[in-house]
């Protein structure tokens, strides 16, 4: 429902600034995921929006209304906590109706809303139980129900699946995805799990050390990471990074020298800040494990010996040592046969290669993008 706009948001705890100048526009009905390593400030950002922490500087708008100094309950936000945070002495029904009972809603309306939410989340048969009689998944559903019932302008999820075991997590992820279709509300979801981010999000916000690194759709982030951090964070297993030398830069085509005297050309456009890059500078080449393929020696870009093979059933992770100090990971389908110690020739399409500035770690724009540029 509500659009959320954060402008110049800063948060300090004591003398430590944990969020630096956050600017973000979350559109109406968008499912936005804040993702990042632990300690990046993603939960703090969510808590600022919820009103559980005071904003140090900057403003928060919800539906064009300045809520920066507003009490949490007045903001029209509902939050689902990682630890569920159900009221242990109340039944499921009481838990879900608690917020509405604070207001002047008529009883019948409250009852109708509880029943509706309970049906959506399939907890109708649990309404008389207490939280301690529920399983983890059921508790989380009740916690979500408690949020739904208030019909909030913005839903906030703080790592809601982290306490569940792996199989249940997948189930709940699907449930949340369904819920998103059904409710049509602005949702902000915090997680450190990039799979959750990729599968659920309309828009992903990658945070690192209190800064927004990149904002985009899951595929944009996967295909066009704007810097090395995002490239490494999105995608599993992690992208391979290799140190390379730039030997030529002409007509927006860069020539790279790779280990074992191999050469590669990539079409790029240099941002202004990188115009001083020339032959002789070093750079970092990034290739995702799934984009490395086995090939004939003549067309290969990398050559190396197989160090380790991990069998995952449906797929294989093959670690290949391509130079003295660099090992890359290749992902291959599970029916392929490899042998440790064997020599392997690898290549990747130029469109699947990413080039990063060695110092700023920013990505070079590529022309041959699969989908449009960011």
């Amino acid at each position: 429902m509500g659009r959320v706009v954060l402008s110049n948001l800063k948060k300090t705890f004591g003398k430590v600034e944990v969020l630096h100048n956050i600017n973000l526009d979350i559109k109406k009905n968008e499912f936005t995921v804040f993702v990042g390593p632990s300690g990046c400030g993603k939960s703090t950002l969510l808590r600022l929006i919820a009103g559980l922490e005071d904003v140090t500087e900057g403003t928060i708008l919800i539906e064009d209304e300045d809520v920066t100094l507003m009490r949490p309950a007045k903001r029209g936000v509902a939050m689902v906590f990682q630890s569920y945070a159900l009221y242990p002495h109340m039944t499921v029904y009481e838990n879900m109706s608690f917020a509405l009972r604070r207001t002047k809603y008529p009883k019948e309306e409250i009852h109708r809303r509880v029943m509706d939410a309970a049906e959506v989340l399939q907890v109708t048969h649990l309404l008389d139980r207490q939280p301690k009689q529920l399983s983890g998944g059921q508790r989380q559903r009740v916690a979500i129900g408690r949020a739904i019932i208030r019909d909030p302008r913005v839903f906030l999820f703080d790592e809601p699946l982290s306490n569940l075991d792996a199989s249940l997590r997948v189930k709940m992820r699907m449930r949340i995805a369904k819920l998103k279709e059904k409710l049509h509300t602005t949702m902000i979801y915090v997680t450190h799990d990039q799979v959750e981010a990729m599968t659920l999000a309309d828009k992903i916000v990658v945070l690192n050390a209190g800064n927004i690194e990149q904002v985009g759709t899951p595929l944009e982030l996967y295909n066009h990471p704007c810097n090395k951090f995002v490239a490494g964070f999105i995608g599993s297993p992690k992208m391979n990074f290799m140190k390379v030398k730039i030997t030529g830069l002409k007509n927006e085509v860069v020539t790279l020298s790779l280990p074992h005297e191999r050469v590669m050309t990539l079409p790029v456009s240099l941002p202004k800040s990188m115009r001083n890059m020339g032959p002789g500078s070093s750079a970092e080449l990034g290739v995702r494990p799934e984009h490395l393929v086995e090939c004939a020696e003549s067309s290969s870009l990398f050559v190396g010996t197989i160090q380790t093979i991990e069998h995952l059933g449906s797929e294989l992770y093959v670690y290949v040592k391509i130079s003295e100090d660099q090992t890359v990971l290749m992902r291959a389908s599970g029916d392929k046969k490899f042998e440790v110690g064997a020599t392997l020739f690898l290549k990747a399409l130029p469109a699947d290669c990413h080039l990063f500035h060695p110092d700023s770690e920013l990505a070079f724009d590529r022309f041959s993008s699969v989908s449009g540029p960011v």
Binding site: A73, A78, F81, A85, L86, A99, K132
Partner: protein, 275 residues
């Protein structure tokens, strides 16, 4: 597997502790059922069950009234004390403000003052407030005695309650009052029962203040009443009656502990978070 020796030590030790703990009470019961010169014999079972002592204590002085006084004072103290302590513990345990730990330390140190040290000051205070020889005076002074440790204990429990529950309640639009008394209070039941019981026992047993702040036998509480019991002459201590009275006033305490024992259950917060 426990060896026979270990079992012997375990059960023997337990038996020893139980005997040490319960024998005085047993002796009180036995003595209360004796009369006359039987009191000075060492029979473990009274030769004749003389209930007369129990009848006499209610006849010769307003002992029933004293018991009612004690109940009123103890329950009054517990009620006021817990209400104040919960509010204080919420502030001390959940709200961060400057000087919080200093305040907590002050409260702790106040609870260590010897009673005699505050007696004269308290006496003046009670007189000024016009509460002398009045049950409210006793409640007031007992509150001063019991508040520090109840606040201290409840603050510890309050701190342990999960933060998310409070935050969920804040988002649900609950006021501080609602959070404190509708969300936290039910979660604090075990702590409240424990501290309430301690406060009750403290108020029930208190002697010094009760002796100093009352003058008429109508206003006395049980400990004072028992201590001031006299026999036929000034030089006779009516042991049988004193023992009977002791047994009578111990019963409410035992009853309370047995009733609330069921409420002191752990895991009341189970299901709130994780689990």
């Amino acid at each position: 597997m426990q060896t026979k020796k270990q079992k012997f030590i375990l059960y023997g030790g337990s038996f020893f502790v139980i005997v040490i703990a319960l024998f005085p009470f047993y002796w009180a019961i036995v003595s209360s059922l004796k009369s006359g010169s039987d009191l000075f014999k060492t029979d473990f079972i009274p030769p004749s069950f003389a209930w007369q002592n129990y009848v006499d204590i209610f006849k010769e002085q307003p002992f029933g009234r004293n018991i009612l006084n004690s109940l009123a004072v103890a329950f009054g103290t517990v009620t006021i004390c817990l209400t104040l302590a919960i509010s204080a513990a919420y502030a001390l345990g959940r709200v961060s403000f400057k000087g919080r730990s200093l305040l907590l330390l002050t409260i702790l140190s106040v609870s260590m003052f010897p009673q005699v040290a505050v007696l004269s000051g308290m006496f003046e205070l009670i007189r000024t407030l016009n509460l002398y020889n009045n049950l409210f005076g006793l409640m007031f002074s007992y509150m001063v005695l019991t508040l520090p440790f109840t606040v201290w204990i409840l603050t510890t429990f309050m701190k342990q309650l999960p933060k998310e529950i409070e935050e969920a309640a804040i988002l649900d639009g609950a006021s501080t009052w609602t959070i404190c008394f509708k969300i936290f209070l039910p979660l604090l039941w075990p702590a409240l029962v424990t501290t309430g019981l301690l406060a009750f026992i403290a108020a029930w047993n208190e002697f010094l203040f009760a002796l100093t702040f009352t003058v008429e036998s109508q206003a006395r509480t049980v400990p004072v009443a028992i201590a001031l019991m006299t026999g036929a002459s000034e030089y006779e201590l009516p042991w049988g009656k004193i023992m009977a009275a002791s047994v009578v006033v111990t019963l409410p305490l035992i009853f309370l502990v047995l009733v609330f024992q069921r409420r002191i259950v752990s895991g009341l917060t189970a299901g709130a978070v994780k689990g």
